[in-house]
Amino acid sequence: MKPTFVISLAVSILLGWYAVVPAPAEKAGSDLKITRIVLRFEDHDTQRMVARRQEGLQAFADIDCTGSGLFEGCWMVDDKFFADITQYVTGSGTIRLASPETPGLPTVAEGLHIVTLVINTPAQRFNPTIIGYFVTTDVKSLGLPIVLTDPPDSAVVDPAVQAFAWEGNPAVKTYLVEFIDDDPDRPVMSAFTEDLHYKLPVAVARYKFIPGRTYFWQVKGFSADHKRVSASFPRQFRMSGMREIDAN
């Protein structure tokens, strides 16, 4: 790396951003140009089957571009406007666009639906790109996510005093709290409960969790007939040192 590059960065940080902006130049430019568009769903698939009434289905676009400028376009579903996109793109590279999560892509009518991206600015010629989702006859019974309340995201947690809590869900009888290290399929520890909170038994926390390490926690909900009907979004926490108190 060139010394001037490092010095320039350091000066710009120390003196503030305006310090590195020179006097106005003679001409204008840096037009935004798109070099590649990839449409996909969240897991990089391009065809997806979803249950009717599924909430939160999103389409994504990875767009490679050069230059900077205004980007304007819209998401279309079955050749009809779905959502507007307006933002600045700066600094060449890849931008990731997502269709709105609330409400998500429409899942009322069963069958195949085609998602396309229309770009108005920059004015370029693009070949059409599409992805498709197929709404099945399965009905997502309730889209109600479980809302985690305590501890807040990224909190430092002392398991001896901290309870993990969430909002109630009318469709759920039994909750499963999962504490995850790095593999979501193999939680470090989990617990079934019918309450709206769970406190890690200190005897377990002490040998299952490592102080200082970051973990995730999430809650899944089961109906009275043992069907999984809801789940929370995961939250992060860091395990603090564990106090020497009597278990429970």
């Binding site: 001409k27 070099t35 990224s154």
Partner: protein, 655 residues
């Protein structure tokens, strides 16, 4: 000027630090804090200790030798606290799993708390199989079928099919015995209508996706093969997160792994392209990777190579140079986790040989890239810093989002407090890394600060500010100069309470063109997303208003979008309703555009019975669609409607 990565030096450094960090005392994983483990405190009745039980959700029954002075207990099955679901039947404590237990060995641990404050722990083990023939065996298959017949059509809907038959099959199967395991997953759909189906879809049966796997595991060794839609995850400078149809085989042995794959370079739709396997490098990607975990996971080394070509883009991809391309690429990634995530070191190098157009007279070009990064945390402080260099001709076949021609330095730091967090990011990068005098060099400087507040219980809030500066240098006379600053302020406010939520968002951004052209503009965007869920009514709505101001012409362009998803139940298990729609207005202050449109769909569904000879929820529905648009300037109006009768049912079979 070409740069030479100091990988050998970095390797030595990583080795020394990894070795040094081994001196950190081993943490307490695996150690039990419970008291002595006397036998006979509990008795496992069903299944008996160390016996094998056949069943997916076997009842587990245990009994205390004495309940005297027992104040409480904790029952943990395979790491899951099941205490809350254990019911007492006289002297027996019974647990009925609510989800299938995976086959294999199980451990029931019971910690008993006595009134005098002491506690004892006892562990009992048993083995389960899903059936007599196979340790684990299941097949879940769901079939759905829908028939739609239009009873009324007007306007644009007259071009749509007056009937449509759709169906879907989702299948997931697995067998496992000893070290052998095989899975088959797939999704099919069927579409038949009297109007043509837009490509790449085809009328009839279409294969959405499938994956067949087989593996054999013995001790620390596992060998596997996969055919279908498989992931390709190499290194960040090669390919990550790509999914393509083809085949893969691999072997893992302890801390070492090797994987090879051959896939189509295009996304394949339906049955076109078969299994995706190809011996032609013109339209396929062959990838090879090897990984090694060293020093008990403190260091990870991954090396990868891929070769292949793209003849034409997939239906979901557009590329500015869409001719046939070929290329090879190789990369090495070193990652080191020192002092239990307090210091993560990463180094990566990549090399590519890429022909941008195999039909022209120019040969392939080589490129290289490398980066070094460090990140970690100390107490509540998190940090990160990185440097990367990517040459102009660095390009990887099949990769999306490959940035090239960039030299970049980036740093970030943040504090995570109990209820809030702050993060600061600084970056500076430029293109034209080889100082090509035919082009200017544009240098970008980014500074961002993000603040997250979660202090007020159900309320979360974020504030963000991003400043981006871009400036050109060494401009040839004939090329324009670049000198601009873009400021972006964002804020979100979310409130969650039981079954409803409200989200507010706002963005203000302005771009200051400091050149003589003075092409300045700004964006103001406001959003509101309320949602409510209950057994009888669920709704999610989105309201968004955006104004783009071109300060050169002083023209505002306003876009307003209101979206709604509403559904619920009128008569439980019998009559349901759905309503969804999008209302949009788009207008400019110079009266060059003034449009309004409304697109809605409403559906009333009556479920005839919940079971008809095995068919689940056969139902009849009435679906109405309405589309309205009007150009207020020309008074052109579209007023379209369609009413459709819908019959649907589903069928589940499996074991």
């Amino acid at each position: 000027m070409r740069k030479t990565p100091s990988l050998p030096i970095l390797l030595v450094l990583l080795f020394v630090m990894a070795w040094a960090s081994r001196a950190v005392p081993a943490l307490a994983a695996g150690e039990s804090s419970a008291e002595s483990n006397p036998s006979g405190i509990i008795e496992l009745i069903d299944p008996q200790e160390q016996s094998t039980v056949v069943g997916k959700q076997p009842v587990i029954r245990f009994r205390f030798s004495s309940l005297e002075n027992v104040e409480g207990y904790l029952a943990i099955l395979d790491g899951t606290d099941i205490t809350a679901l254990v019911r007492q039947d006289q002297y027996d404590f019974i647990y009925q799993p609510i989800e299938p237990l995976p086959s294999g060995d199980h451990l029931l641990m019971v910690i008993v708390y006595y009134a005098d404050g002491t506690q004892v722990e006892e562990q009992k083990s048993f083995h389960s199989r899903h059936s007599g023939q196979f340790e684990e065996a299941y097949s879940n298959n769901d079939v759905g079928a829908v028939y739609r017949s239009a009873v009324y059509r007007r306007g644009r809907f007259e071009d749509e099919s007056n009937y449509q038959v759709t169906g879907n099959l989702s299948s997931s199967s697995k067998i496992k015995e000893g070290g052998f395991e095989a899975t088959a997953d797939g999704n099919l759909w069927y579409l038949k209508q009297n109007q043509p189906v837009p490509p790449p879809q085809e009328s009839g049966v279409n294969l959405a996706d499938f994956l067949l796997t087989a593996s054999y595991t013995q001790d620390d060794m596992k060998a596997y093969t996969e055919v279908g839609d498989i992931p390709i995850d190499l290194t960040p400078y090669l390919i990550q997160g790509l999914s393509r149809r083809g085949g893969a085989a691999g072997v893992t042995y302890g801390d070492y792994a090797f994987r090879a794959s051959n896939t189509s370079s295009r996304d394949l739709f339906g049955f076109n392209g078969g299994l995706g396997l190809s011996d032609s490098s013109d339209d396929s990607i062959s990838a090879f990777s090897g990984t090694a975990d060293l020093f008990s996971g403190l260091m990870n080394v991954k090396a990868a190579y891929l070769t292949g070509g793209v003849e034409k883009d997939s239906y979901n991809i557009w590329t500015v140079d869409s001719g046939a391309r070929k290329g090879d690429a190789a990369g090495v990634l070193l990652q080191s986790n020192l002092f239990d995530q307090r210091l993560l070191l990463e180094a990566e190098g990549g090399y590519s040989d890429y022909d941008f157009n195999t039909s022209d007279e120019f040969s392939s070009q080589t490129g290289h890239a490398y980066r070094f990064a460090a990140s970690g945390y100390y107490e509540q402080f998190t940090y990160g810093a990185s440097y990367q260099y990517i040459s102009p001709d660095y390009e990887v076949i099949g990769a999306s989002g490959t940035v090239n021609d960039r030299e970049e330095i980036r740093a970030n730091g943040g504090f995570n407090f109990d209820n809030d967090a702050i993060q600061i990011t600084l970056a500076r990068y430029h293109d034209n890394v080889e100082n090509d005098r035919l082009y200017p060099r544009i240098t970008y400087t980014d500074g961002a600060i993000d603040y997250t507040l979660g202090r007020f219980g159900n309320i979360t809030a974020t504030l963000g500010y991003l400043r981006n500066l871009e400036k050109s240098s060494h401009e040839p006379d004939e090329l324009v100069k670049v000198d601009a600053a873009t400021d972006t302020f964002t804020t979100t406010l979310g409130y969650f309470k039981e079954s409803y939520s409200v989200g507010l968002s706002g963005t203000y951004a302005e771009r200051d063109d400091k050149t003589d052209a003075d092409y300045d503009s700004r964006i103001l965007s406001l959003g509101l997303t309320p949602a409510y869920y209950s057994e009888w009514i669920s709704t999610a709505a989105g309201l968004n208003w955006t104004r783009v101001t071109d300060e050169t012409t002083d023209v505002n362009t306003d876009t307003f979008t209101a979206s709604l998803n509403l559904n619920g139940t009128i008569i439980k298990d019998k009559l349901t309703y759905d309503l969804a729609g999008t209302y949009t207005t788009n207008e400019t202050s110079d009266d060059s555009i003034d449009m309004v449109s409304l697109d809605t769909i409403a559906k009333l569904t009556y479920t005839i019975t919940d079971d008809f000879y095995g068919f689940a929820n056969p139902s009849v529905g009435l679906e109405g669609r309405y589309f309205y648009s009007r150009d207020r300037l020309t008074d052109d109006t579209e007023n379209d409607a369609m009413i459709t009768l819908v019959f649907s049912t589903s069928y589940h079979f499996g074991f």
